[in-house]
């Protein structure tokens, strides 16, 4: 499932719902480069930690990218999340839990003249969820490498289970399929400035809600009760992003971006971000600020007036109205 609030790098693709989005953004990042070339040969080892909302997520990641000959680049990535959660959703309707999430990916980039063809596969698994995603992309340089266009497609197959008292429920098995199409163009405007425009359509079909989360409804002046969520079985989203980068004479760079998101559930999202990179000798310092604002899904409510109030019911805070400053 695509989320409206997304700004990810290949190293931050930890949440199962964002795997495919990260892939598309990886293509988008490639489209910011002024010419079509193979990625650099490199290896990275990372430790990451998220801490907030009574949830901690931490773990290692390893990425290796190697060329085979002069026209083929192969990349492999391993990413692990150790999750400890007592989030606000868990507090009100479940028990704290710990789990491990593993993700493996393999991808290849083939350089053919002024084109790069990309192909890859990702598997993400945890105790109650397995996601398999395959993707394909192509980028092409035009007009003396001043313009680069790119297209991408991905397909995801998700198996969703449910743990009851720490044991996988054998009677619960749901599926969700997702497809994403993306297109982008980047243009070198001056010797110091590059501009990129990307557009993405994502369709999800199947089991789109959490098997654990409940909604609440009023039963009296001071009383309430819970019932399971009820979601539509399809969701289609559109997102467009515009990003500009300006290179300054002292090898610094400033970056400005905006992204608009909307989907068939009524969610509307706006993201704006500003970044600056500054080299000092062997050091490179960077800072950025980002603001995100979203309007809620049509069927979202914090509190329903009665049981079975509508066909679709949700109390997922990611479908609520909120803003996020990073």
């Amino acid at each position: 499932m695509q989320t409206a609030d997304s700004r990810l790098t290949p190293f931050t693709i930890s949440r199962r719902a964002r795997v495919g989005v990260a892939l598309v953004l990886a293509w988008s990042a490639a489209s910011m480069s002024p010419a079509t070339v193979l990625p650099e040969e490199r290896a990275d080892v990372m430790y990451h930690r998220y801490d907030g909302g009574d949830v901690t997520v931490s773990g290692p990641s390893v990425l290796v990218r190697k060329n085979v000959g002069e026209k083929l680049s192969i990349a492999a990535n391993y990413y692990t999340d150790f999750v400890s959660s007592a989030s606000i959703d868990v507090q009100t309707s479940a028990s704290p839990y710990d789990e491990t999430r593993n993700q493996y990916s393999l991808s290849a980039d083939l350089l053919n003249g002024k084109s790069v063809y990309s192909l890859g596969y990702i598997r993400s698994s945890e105790s109650d969820y397995q996601a398999d995603t395959a993707f394909f992309g192509v980028s092409q340089s035009l007009f003396g490498d001043l313009t680069t266009i790119s297209f991408g497609y991905r397909y995801g197959d998700n198996d969703i289970g449910r743990n009851v008292a720490g044991v996988l429920d054998p009677d619960f098995n749901e599926q969700m399929k997702t497809q994403g199409f993306s297109a982008g163009v980047s243009q070198v405007l001056t010797r110091n400035m590059i501009l990129a425009l990307n557009y993405e359509v994502v369709t999800d079909e199947g089991f789109l809600r959490s098997p654990y989360r409940s909604v609440r409804y009023i039963t009296g002046p001071t009383t309430q009760a819970l019932q399971s969520e009820a979601y539509p079985r399809t969701r289609t989203s559109n997102a467009a992003a515009l990003r500009g980068k300006y290179f300054l004479p002292w090898r610094a760079a400033a970056e400005l971006g905006y992204r608009y998101y909307r989907d068939t559930w009524g969610v509307r999202g706006h993201t704006a971000d500003l970044g600056y990179t500054h080299p000092i000798g062997k050091w490179t310092l960077d800072g950025s600020v980002r603001y995100y604002r979203q309007d809620r899904a049509d069927f979202y409510r914090d509190l329903y007036p009665r049981r079975d109030f509508a066909n679709f019911l949700s109390r997922d805070k990611e479908l609520a109205t909120y803003d996020n400053l990073t």
């Binding site: 190293f11 931050t12 650099e40 040969e41 490199r42 290896a43 990275d44 080892v45 990372m46 430790y47 990451h48 930690r49 998220y50 801490d51 907030g52 909302g53 606000i88 507090q91 009100t92 309707s93 479940a94 028990s95 704290p96 609440r216 009023i218 002046p221 001071t222 009383t223 309430q224 819970l226 062997k282 050091w283 490179t284 310092l285 960077d286 800072g287 950025s288 809620r296 979202y300 409510r301 914090d302 509190l303 109390r315 805070k317 609520a320 109205t321 909120y322 803003d323 996020n324 400053l325 990073t326």
Partner: protein
């Protein structure tokens, strides 16, 4: 914000360059229509001493930090 430092590794000529990096982000999320229901429903099945009426709980707010430390080589 982030910082990275480029350096050479002695006696490993096959490595063109290497760097160590650290990135830290702080984020705050403010919800307009998602309330802290633990103040009425309780936490993990234990009711609060003075539960609030549903719909009168304070709006939920989330603060979080993200830390990334990584080591990179180019070859």
């Amino acid at each position: 914000m982030g910082a990275s430092y480029d350096f050479r590794i002695p006696r490993m000529a096959w490595i063109d360059r290497s760097s160590a990096s650290i990135r830290y982000s702080f984020l705050t999320v403010n919800y307009d229509d998602f309330r802290d229901a633990s103040q009425s429903l309780g936490k993990f099945g234990v009711l609060p001493d003075e539960p609030l009426a549903p719909g009168t709980e304070p709006l939920y707010k989330l603060d979080a930090s993200v830390l990334q430390i990584f080591f990179s080589i180019w070859f």
